[in-house]
């Protein structure tokens, strides 16, 4: 090992800056290829990617791929209400005559939006607080941040999210706010644990003695080493956020009718169980498929990073 390092060092000494950069780029490309290889070795990860891709494409192109785009809104057609699954309506029609398949595909939009927006709102502040608390470990900054985190983690996130959402005006955005408000502590605690461990690594001390600024140490030395656990958690969290979002709309605190949402469709449809089972069962299955897709994808990402660390 030492010999190799010496050779590499000697090589590096004879290279121009441009050549070094080129080598770095190549090695990055190679490690990306290796990561993809590790990811794709598990067929379930590929199933996950394919499911997620399909769901995203369906959601984006909903107005063009659905058979009855008008049914996504406040459409009523009582003459065709509660039709069981048929060729014309593969998943049947609901209590006021709207095509269930169409509404499911449009409903994917709010579910995905929820997952993306909540994580976008939650990860930056959560990670930043974790970094700060980890870097200033043992000081009052650490104490304040981590004790507040503990308070939020002392109750299951669903309850507080429900409470906040119930106090606000019920709609998709307030639902997202409520979930976000409860979700950041998980990232803070994750990054805090990593940060405390990294704080004592030699490369951090090395940066310190060469006079690097606090900001440089936090963002250029510690942060890059926490990225893979954060990405892993994010990819698994999308599924959880979608589930919590569907629970909020199930109890009427998320997306408001006539806007379609999977949770609301299950809730409304469950009133017509068991005779018109398709109104509730197909949206329920759609939630399971979406969540399963993101979970498989998340597991693949986790395995990819886990293998890399060995």
């Amino acid at each position: 090992m030492a010999e190799q390092a010496a050779i590499r060092h000697e090589l590096a000494a004879n290279l121009t800056v441009q050549q070094i950069k080129q080598l770095e780029r190549r090695s990055r490309r190679e490690s990306l290829g290796r990561a993809w290889y590790k990811f794709s070795r598990n067929p379930l990860s590929i199933v996950g990617v394919a499911t997620v891709a399909l769901v995203v494409l369906l959601a984006i192109f909903a107005p063009w791929v659905t058979p009855y785009p008008k049914h996504a809104g406040a459409f009523t057609d009582f003459a065709h209400a509660k039709i069981p699954p048929s060729l014309e309506h593969p998943f049947g029609t609901d209590q006021i005559g709207r095509d269930v398949l169409t509404r499911i595909i449009f409903g994917l939009r709010s579910s995905l939006l929820m997952g993306v927006v909540v994580l976008a709102l939650v990860v930056p502040p959560g990670v930043l607080l974790g970094l700060l608390a980890g870097y200033y470990q043992g000081t009052w900054i650490d104490t304040v941040i981590m004790r507040v985190t503990d308070i939020f983690l002392s109750v299951p996130p669903l309850i507080l999210a429900l409470a906040v959402a119930s106090v606000l005006k019920p709609n998709l955005w307030n639902g997202m706010m409520a979930v976000s408000l409860m979700w950041w502590p998980w990232y803070t605690r994750l990054v805090y644990g990593l940060g405390v461990a990294l704080r004592n690594e030699y490369f951090v001390s090395a940066a310190e003695v060469t006079g690097a600024s606090t900001a440089h140490i936090i963002f250029r030395e510690i942060l890059p080493n926490t990225i893979s656990p954060i990405l892993t958690k994010m990819s698994l969290d999308v599924a959880w956020v979608i589930i919590i979002g569907s629970m909020l709309s199930f109890v009427g605190l998320g997306v408001q009718p006539p806007e379609p949402s999977l949770g609301t469709m299950v809730a409304d449809g469950s009133r017509y169980l068991p005779d018109q089972w398709w109104i509730a069962v197909f949206p329920a299955l759609a939630i399971v498929v979406v969540v399963l897709g993101f979970n498989l994808l998340g597991d693949g990402v986790r395995d990819m990073f886990a293998a890399e660390e060995i």
Binding site: I151, A163, S270, L273, N295
Partner: protein, 342 residues
């Protein structure tokens, strides 16, 4: 002595966490638009009544002082009147809590037995078809929200097969046993009404199972992977080399240390079940705390919402302490390091 020390510190810390939670709840309750005094007396009450109520509820004082009054009352067990039921929140909770507790206990029991059982089975027959079926089942359990399980169970086991009733805690023709603990199954046994016990048991199966499915799946996964990890350790090989029967190696040497992660997660899952119960109780029309909390959220009944969340927080924190104790008992290393650091 030092374990005791560790425990006392843990409890004191939890009290501070709960105090913090009460501040969070108070703030949430106060960010709501609208005048709590006006909501308490209704839209048609004259202004002077509202003013008097404002005075009584200390709403004219600064927020920290209001919090002080609120906390003092909460510590006395007085959460004010519920806007929905027009009764003290505390007596509402006393009425609804046992139903939820019964549900959560049953679901916890199912999670522990089912999860550990399936996990052990899966680890024992690793990489055979039994293992594969268990793993497939676990995956389905982890990705399916409990309210979807509830709907599927209602449809399949309740309606199509008619194995279990799907509404409430008892059949209409069955008279409830005298209330002792509030847990109908237990009360029925205490009163010696075996038929009532069976009826209550049949009612609780579907909601408890819907709540437990996720936890069963998770516990099975964790138990399996933890047993698989420990199986390759040297002490198992040496136990086998010494000729100790496989049954004892599995049961005594492998299972106990492998259950440590399972127990920690199981505890958190059981405590979290109270929150998931919000949806499941709604579906099964189960007259529990979660359904009460849900109704109060729908009606913006702040006194009830605050009380329910604070109580669930207290349960969660308590369960966490209990889990720590059980884990310390299972793992002598934790006991020793706690003793050393204290």
């Amino acid at each position: 002595m030092s374990t005791l020390n560790f425990l006392v510190r843990r409890i004191i810390y939890s009290v501070f966490v709960l105090l913090g939670l009460s501040i969070v709840i108070f703030v949430i309750a106060r960010i709501m638009p609208g005048d709590p005094a006006r909501m308490a007396v209704g839209a048609r009450a004259p202004q002077w009544v509202v003013d008097r109520i404002r005075e009584q509820m200390h709403l004219n004082e600064p927020l920290p002082v209001q919090y002080g009054y609120w906390l003092r009352d909460a510590l006395r067990g007085d959460f004010g009147l519920s806007l929905v039921t027009q009764r003290p929140v505390t007596s509402d909770i006393r009425e609804f809590f046992p139903a939820s507790l019964e549900l959560v206990l049953f679901s916890g029991f199912l999670s522990a037995v089912g999860g550990i059982g399936l996990g052990v089975l899966s680890a024992r027959y690793k990489d055979t078809w039994i293992d594969n079926i268990v793993r497939l089942f676990s995956y389905a359990g982890v990705v399916t929200p409990s309210y979807i399980f509830a709907i599927l169970f209602v449809l399949l086991l309740g309606w199509a097969l008619k194995w279990f009733p799907i509404i409430g805690r008892l059949s209409e023709e069955v008279t409830a046993p005298p209330v002792v603990t509030g847990l109908i199954t237990l009360d029925a046994l205490l009163a010696g009404q075996f038929g009532t016990f069976l009826d209550a048991l049949r009612h609780i199966v579907l909601p408890a199972l819907s709540l437990a499915m996720g936890a069963i799946a998770q516990e099975a996964r964790i138990t399996r992977s933890s047993m698989a990890d420990n199986l390759s350790k040297d002490y198992i090989a040496s136990a086998r080399a010494l000729g100790i029967p496989e049954r004892i190696v599995m049961g005594r040497f492998l299972l106990k240390p492998s259950l440590i992660p399972t127990v920690s997660i199981l505890g958190l899952d059981i405590a979290a079940t109270f929150s998931v119960a919000f949806l499941v109780e709604l579906i099964f029309n189960w007259p529990g705390l979660a359904r009460y909390g849900m109704q109060s959220m729908m009606h913006k009944d702040l006194n009830a919402i605050s009380a329910v969340i604070l109580i669930l927080g207290a349960i969660f924190v308590t369960v966490n302490i209990v889990v720590d104790i059980i884990v310390a008992w299972l793992d002598p290393r934790i006991r020793l390091s706690a003793a050393r650091s204290a």
